[in-house]
Amino acid sequence: MKAKDELGQSGERLAADYLEDHGMRVIDSNWRCPAGEIDLVALDGAALVIVEVKTRRSRRYGDPLEAVTAAKLQRLRTLAVLWAREHRHVMGVLRVDAVGIIMDGRSAPSIDHLKGVA
């Protein structure tokens, strides 16, 4: 496995733990379909939450959340519908969250959780 994928994996695990700690229930991760991939799927109360996780080692190339573009958010909404259809989830409230993580390997990772970005 490439180093960058490893970093992404550990970032997503970290994000899942973080969300569970903050009262959300993670019900799926790394769900793939021909249209793309969802990092995490969670439930926050009745709301279905699609979570995009971005992990970086430093802010040298900008904040991880800056990498979440409008096109990406649009795709996530499409994927949310596909995910709900496959899992026969009755869609109530849909929300897209973004989690930015900085892991420089020296200090404790910083986690930045933005709710309802799309």
Binding site: D63, L65, E66, L73, A98, L114, G116
Partner: protein, 521 residues
């Protein structure tokens, strides 16, 4: 988190408007939105600001920052808003305290240093009259901003220093962007600009002019009464030399005038910076190939001032006047009339003061040889007519003194006797100005040149004994009604220079000789 505010100034021409910069931080993905009609260079502020803040150790919020420049309907341009925007954004994030009534005027470098901007003087003037008193500028603009009475100005080298003064946490601040002492906006050699455009005429002294007794007198009268002057003569007769010496005869600018002039020069893109008020009357001599926009002002967006405005309260010298584009010459009629240039463009209207003293120089004909009997002249009659046809009647109507300048004789050139210096003449000019100012105050005027025919033939009417010569010339058809008024204006200035209360017949006679039109005109 939440809202942040800071003040800046938007210049439309010389008029400043205090702009409130609002910054709001929203809980969404990182972005920077700039609202309020920014132009291209102002839109680029987003990128400059992010880098500058990052490199100063106080990164901007990693959320969506929305900045609004109020009033949003006023078009804004340039980089002078950088500091105000970053301070508003930092204030919104709680990184610095509220900035209150402080006005920020500086551009940011990517490393966080503050760079000087143009137009600081008019901006500070406008903000003061709008009730602001505290200013933060780049170090290189400090001297200029401090010229305004009542302004409390602080100059800084870097964003970190400004932030520290507004209670940012000093622990993370990066104070010295790489070699800050280096070229902070060309900080060092700024002294030369202090004497401004008069610098090149400061060395020109009247004592260097050999002979030319009549021209020297005309120059003195022009300086004393603020009369426009036209010199006609063959090449090499010293027209340019004489014109260059006119600013040296004019009195120093008053405080108010100096602020006006310095404000215009503060907008000038060719000057490096201003450290002192321009005290000497400016001198502008555009080349005859100059475009209309370069003389009266222009450019895309909000028009910038041209040579006529840069010559405000000074001298505008048009050498080879008939070679200028006719449109350029005619465009000068508005400022000659109103002392102001109002430039209308789609993006807005700018008004620049342009109360200059006009000096025109012309050869007697296109080839320049039509002097004396004019035997050597190669020009056709048509060419000569066309040459002076450019100088329209309405323009020349405003030129009180029309003088023939002849070549200097060898005997005059080698005469090394004591000649009057500019300083000596300037003393007489100063006295004459004081006398006329007192007489003209009831009419709301300053110079004899501004006297209208209504006043000249009304409250200031001369007796028949004094105007005898004029009446005869007019009767003979050699003097028009306008010419009559012009001679009267000159006569008053001649009398002022002599210290007489009212012009005598001699003064009128001398005035009459100063408006002889040259051959061909």
């Amino acid at each position: 988190m939440g809202m942040g505010r800071a003040l800046a100034v938007a210049l439309v021409g010389l008029n400043g408007h205090v702009i409130e910069v609002e910054a709001d931080i929203g809980q969404t993905l990182p972005a920077f939105v700039l609202l309020g009609l920014p132009d291209a260079s102002l839109s680029e502020a987003k990128e400059r600001i992010r880098s500058a803040a990052q490199n100063s150790g106080i990164p901007l919020s990693r959320r969506k920052i929305t900045v609004n420049l109020v009033p949003a309907s006023l078009p804004k341009k340039g980089s002078g808003f950088d500091l105000a925007i970053v301070m508003a954004a930092l204030n919104a994030a709680g990184d610095v305290r509220r900035t209150g009534g402080t006005v920020f005027l500086a551009e940011l470098g990517l490393d966080g240093r503050l760079r000087p901007v143009r137009g600081v003087l008019p901006a500070v003037l406008a903000a003061i009259s709008a009730g602001c008193q505290e200013f933060v500028v780049a170090q290189a603009n400090l001297a200029e901003a401090e010229l305004v009475a009542g302004a409390r100005v602080r100059g800084y080298d870097s964003l970190a220093q400004v932030a520290a003064d507004f209670d940012a946490d000093p622990e993370h601040l990066v104070f010295s962007p790489a070699d800050l002492t280096g070229t902070a906006g060309g900080g060092a050699p700024r002294l030369a600009a202090a004497d401004g455009p008069a610098g090149d005429t400061a060395l020109a002294d009247l004592s260097e002019v050999a002979g030319q007794g009549e021209a020297r007198l005309a120059l003195e009268i022009a300086a004393a009464g603020g009369h426009h002057l036209m010199m006609m003569g063959p090449p090499g007769s010293g027209k340019t030399m004489l014109a260059e010496r006119l600013p040296g005869l004019l009195p120093e600018l008053t405080d108010e005038e100096a602020l006006e002039v310095t404000a215009i020069h503060s907008l000038d893109t060719t000057k490096s910076g201003i450290t002192a008020l321009v005290r000497r009357p400016p001198y502008e001599r555009p080349h005859h190939s100059a475009s209309t926009a370069s003389i009266i002002g222009g450019g895309s967006g909000i028009p910038r001032p041209g040579a006529a405005s840069r010559a405000h309260r000074g001298v505008l010298f048009l050498d080879e006047a008939p070679e200028f584009d006719k449109r350029v010459l005619d465009a000068l009629r508005q400022p000659l009339e109103s002392g102001e240039l109002v430039l209308h463009r789609a993006a807005g209207t700018a008004a620049y003061p342009a109360r200059f003293q006009l000096v025109l120089a012309a050869n007697p004909c296109p080839c320049g040889k039509a002097t004396g009997k004019g035997i050597a002249c190669e020009c056709t009659a048509m060419a000569r007519r066309r040459y002076f046809g450019k100088l329209s009647g309405p323009l020349l109507d405003r030129v009180d003194i029309q003088l023939q300048v002849n070549r200097v004789q060898l005997s005059q050139l080698s005469d090394t006797g004591q000649r009057e210096t500019s300083a000596q003449v300037a003393v007489r000019v100063q006295m004459a100005r004081a006398i006329q100012a007192q007489r003209l105050r009831p009419f709301g005027l300053v110079h004899n040149a501004d006297l209208s025919g209504r006043i000249l033939r009304g409250p200031l009417r001369l007796g028949g004994k004094e105007t005898h010569l004029l009446d005869r010339a007019m009767g003979a058809g050699t003097l028009s009604a306008r010419g009559y008024d012009r001679v009267l204006r000159l006569a008053w200035t001649v009398a002022d220079l002599q210290g007489r209360d009212t012009p005598g017949a001699d003064d009128v006679g001398l005035a009459l000789t100063l408006r002889q039109r040259g051959e061909g005109l």
